[in-house]
Symmetry: C2
Subunit: 234 residues, 2 copies
């Protein structure tokens, strides 16, 4: 029996659309009826995750729980979240339901180990994701060498994510910031880059980046397609 | 009070992702929380609409009704369908619910009248949409001059839609078909083209078409953004 997907989305909306599109394009299908059934709650009312983790911002858990209940009621067989920082709340959400969550971060760590064995990853992510140690934990567990951005590069990443992609601005407004982040981390020994915030694969595409990367949105899409009993179109 | 959207999707999945992305990109928003709440049922189990209209294929109404009920239960304030041919079933679906459906075809006819006053549209669509007269009705009602493809061009359009876009094939496999359709209709007096099947804006983008078009997916996105009380980012 093939399974359906629930996407707990809106964090942000364009990243949710990106995940949806990647699942569709990566599903091995020749007609509409070969695809996976996908329920999405693109819930734009979820408070900012980094603000909640770092600076006492509104708790996103009630709005996320509302979305979880709606996806459960639709009949979703698994839940995924196109927001790396939101994974800080995953254990508390998982405790509320028997529907399994698939982790974008674990899928990404597995891809790092498979594609870049022994090489050093740089974790590009929000301050919330970095402060919570979300990638540090999964990369350590999978024995993937990594380094994290220093404060100036963390500031640049937040500008790219919030003032650039989420604000719908042109990539020219954040090109210099991205170049300085990549340069600084390469100089410290990074061999490749985890685009560990769902706005960053969008930024990379718009900027036409040509550096080795792991895209957690793509890795999550592949993992969920296989979980649901379908084949990945590679 | 701002409204939410329900997308009755899966017809096809890539067209559903395209509509979702266009709504997000066309919404005037500076942060996640400025966006519209969107519920999507990407229901890949809905039987083919053209087959049902033309050749006694399975009735799509039960599966569409299942999606409608799920979107209603989520709390959607309006329903839209990213499938022109599916609008054949809209009156029967609307009779089942108080939640208003917005018509992709009416939004497109309004755009034709506003953007190309007095000029002649060519309706590019599935055989199901053309046989049911869906565009002929709305264009006549809004006094938009139009012409429809002859049988050889209808065959070519069905190949582009089904053997090309829905099958995930390269645009090179349908470039010649698209060129012959545009050439034949231009020769008959068409001034612009309604991309009246949701796979056709995807085909046009992949082919890099440079002819004047009306994209019903974009027009529906703009109409639903305004209906929900938000501004279009033009």
């Amino acid at each position: 029996m093939k399974k359906s997907i629930g996407i707990l989305g809106g964090m942000g909306p364009l990243a949710t659309a990106d995940l949806f599109r990647k699942i569709v394009l990566l599903t091995d299908a020749a007609r509409d009826n070969d695809h996976i059934r996908i329920y999405i709650d693109d819930n734009a009312s979820i408070p900012d995750r980094t603000a909640a983790i770092l600076s006492g911002g509104a708790d996103p858990l009630p709005a996320m729980t509302d979305s979880l209940r709606k996806l459960e009621a639709c009949g979703a067989d698994c839940i995924i979240m196109p927001c790396n920082t939101a994974h800080y709340f995953l254990p508390r959400l998982q405790a509320l339901t028997d529907v399994p969550f698939l982790s974008m971060l674990e899928a990404s760590a597995s891809a790092c180990r498979a594609r870049f064995p022994g090489r050093t990853a740089a974790v590009l992510a929000t301050k919330g994701t970095l402060a919570a140690g979300l990638y540090q934990q999964v990369l350590t567990a999978q024995q993937v060498p990594f380094l994290v951005p220093a404060p100036p590069e963390q500031d640049a990443l937040m500008r790219i994510i919030y003032d650039g992609v989420k604000a719908g601005k042109s990539p020219d407004t954040y090109r210099a910031d991205m170049e300085s982040v990549l340069h600084a981390l390469s100089a410290q020994g990074a061999d490749y880059f985890i685009l560990g915030c769902t706005e960053l694969p969008l930024a990379a595409e718009l900027l036409g980046l040509h550096v080795p990367t792991v895209d957690p949105t793509t890795e999550l899409a592949k993992a969920v397609i296989r979980f649901c009993g379908y084949s990945v179109n590679e």
